[in-house]
Symmetry: C3
Subunit: 343 residues, 3 copies
């Protein structure tokens, strides 16, 4: 029996199974600094302890996507090592800020299984949760992946497809305890546009671009302890390219979106997301956003805006799909999320 | 009205105007470690808490240039986003050490304006200050940039050119509270040359070289939240090159200068500086210094030396300008600064 | 007299001489995060404060190899700046964990000298120790290097070759105070194989590969304040390549070995090591291990396993030398070490 982890195949998952993912991780100011070094992140709440305190938090939390990547990375060896494709996300919620000093671990529950008609692979739905050292759930999301079968002879399980919301509603979102935007400093935050200045249908071109290097995306992906071979090993593909972790594109696009969405201080919900095309070193990533929906929360001065965040390596802001509904070849990411804004 | 920041044009500046720059930043051991990873920095005072305590400080401060870059980075969106050229620095003073845990913000005052005779651009002089969470000024410097006019029809302002010292005198420098070099450990610091061993006119070849990669300068420049497009976006120039942030060259040259100036423990003043030629990935940076002037401070065992630090990508130590006074093509940086040494 | 450090030549070493190396270094969560960003490190004890506490430690220590690199880096300017070759390691022992906040310095004693028959160089054996801020030795190892003579006319010293153990025995190893694996969580650690599951002679293929970039190995090597020119300066070699610091390959191989040796939580001893062939950017590093020997310690639940760790850029697991005993050209590292495992 080999000592190394071959990963799980489709037939290895059981409906309702709880998977405790390995290698808990303590984060510090180091992860925080690296996040700012790898992405042009400038949102004030995750940049300054003083700004965060003025908004009612204990201090500046780790970027919400950094928390996501740490949790996601832990799930990779059990969920997606043999995945053919990362198909989607739904019902993601950030439930508590993650601070330097916190230790995160991850657990997943198998909530859906459906073998493909070819009998060679199947779709696995998991609900993954990140927990901190106090066993508090800080993040909760559903993702589904296509996984190869190890033994095609194993019979297909009864198909169970979980019912998933196309999008969370404002009521589903959880505002961090104490968050208060009533004396929000727009000057220090970098832009004067408040919740009321954004309208559904509005398209925002974030204008800046970043050309990606191999060293950068590998440093980032290792930082999240994501071990998928394709990100690191140039011998895995015929063309010698390393596939960039989709989460790297998410964080890059989110950071670029500062220019136009500087007051989108916290990520609250993940409604869905597609890694529309693979991203490689040398690509220059740009981003645009579309305002989808708005709502108010019960917290003082805290509004929520639902946004589509699109990362591209070219093309005009707003251009997403071709005539038959297929993503344009330069579209890398199509993300649907909720963020908290000062009203 | 677009939501993104178009930057300011020449006609947008008013004499005496105070600009509060956005996005305060809390630094930690993470920024400290990254500084050591990006530059071959080895000065003992910014490397070891124990060494710093033995010199009278609370603990090891962040490198003085790291503090400069954080403050400088905050000024970019308001001062140099539409700058055609970064023309000079003067009267820079480090007024208090920056420690992990400190939160920095920046403010600038417009102290000079002069439209160019072509009517298409002008020169803006600003005095920028970095403040910590206690509202204490930690850094203060003047810089001037050439900025494009957005609308050439706007009439020129009355020209005001601030009077700037060609160099600070020793009396202008501020020694960090408590600094005491009277029991300085030259062995741990790495070199035995003290203040008395340097003489004006002396040229020091720092001998080492570092070949720069795209990933490194982008990681550094993002770390300082400097957002100028030309550093990150390979599509901004015909040749696909990314222009390296001048501050990256400063820090690289300063770190290389350890070899010969290991006891130049703290940067005290910035008299002037020119980014003589653009620097690109692939360049191998070397450095040499010239001793310009010396003085003593009132602090125990603390002397000051004024140095010229030159970064090159080739050429002999001491070679700076051609016959008509133009910088040689391999000279990247000509910096005039004061440092504190043990006497 | 030049102000820069020319390094020591063979004739500059005296038997019994104590060398106090320069530039103490305080490590923080920043160094910890960078280690995880540069290597695919996932061992739970150096990843999670909670996991470390459950094993009886105060919190999660810095990776043992990071501690080694910091100490090693300090010795470079005095020991290997003019070294022609790094010949070997022996009797290395990690004596106490290094935690964020600790300050390390290094001292070496010259324990052997032997001039080569060509009269142009000689071999220097040193015993180097790393000490923390409490003057506690945290690491102790012997290494020997071939060093050029500065002046061939200086007569050869009496040859003294230290007696070195081919390998430490289990009794030589020092278990960190308080370490207790009796309630070890194999699920959180990532693999279920315990001490009893490994048998001498067993070969483990760690399966993963990482393609190395210039930016990464330079960032790592600078982080350890290792200043050897060949790692940074592309003009040092005819082919423009930068030689990768051997310690970078050690850490990469150790991190890759998680896959099959996830429970090798602490490095206890370094019996020997050879950098079999030079490593350059573009190489894809893989690793395999051979179980050499086993023993138990007095600490609760703590066993020791002696392992050979081999890093390669190709070739089959187990393939090490050719017919005449020479390392195969794709072998980069052959390391012999002891690690602590849960029994």
């Amino acid at each position: 029996m080999p000592k190394t982890n071959p990963g799980r195949f489709f037939e290895d998952y059981r409906l309702g199974e709880q998977i405790e993912h390995a290698v808990p991780r303590t984060v510090s100011g180091g992860e925080r600094a690296l996040y700012h070094a790898l992405y042009p992140a400038r949102h004030a709440l995750t940049s300054s302890d003083e700004f965060a305190r003025a908004c009612g938090l204990a201090r500046s939390p780790l970027d919400d996507w950094a928390a996501f990547h740490v949790v996601f990375g832990k799930t990779v060896p059990d969920i997606s090592l043999n995945a053919v494709a990362n198909l989607g996300y739904a019902q993601g919620r950030w439930l508590a800020p993650v601070y330097p000093g916190d230790t995160l671990r991850a657990v997943s529950e198998v909530i859906g299984l459906k073998e493909n008609s070819n009998g060679k692979s199947g779709i696995v739905w998991v609900r993954s949760r990140g927990l901190n050292q106090d066993e508090r759930v800080v993040l909760d999301y559903v993702r589904w992946v296509m996984v190869r079968k190890g033994d095609p002879a194993v019979p297909a399980p009864d198909p169970v497809i979980p019912e998933l919301k196309p999008a969370l509603s404002v009521e589903d979102l959880v505002v961090p305890e104490g968050l208060d935007f009533s004396s929000y400093d727009f000057g220090l935050a970098g832009e004067r546009h408040r919740w009321g200045d954004y309208e559904p249908g509005e398209i925002i071109d974030h204008t800046d671009g970043v050309t990606i290097e191999e060293a950068e995306h590998m440093i980032a992906t290792r930082l999240w302890q994501n071990t998928a071979k394709v990100h690191f090993d140039a011998t895995q593909r015929e063309d010698g390219k390393r596939l960039i972790y989709g989460g790297h594109v998410i964080s890059m696009a989110r950071a670029l979106s500062f220019n136009g969405l500087a007051n989108a201080q916290l990520i609250a919900g993940l409604n869905g997301g597609a890694h529309a095309n693979p991203c490689f070193a040398g690509d220059t990533i740009r981003a645009w956003s579309e305002v989808l929906e708005k709502g108010k929360t019960a917290a003082p001065g805290v509004g929520a805006i639902r946004l589509r965040l699109v990362a591209t390596r070219g093309g005009a802001p707003g251009a997403l799909r071709d005539g038959v509904g297929k993503y344009l070849p330069d579209v890398l990411l199509d993300l649907d999320y909720w963020a908290f804004f000062p009203i």
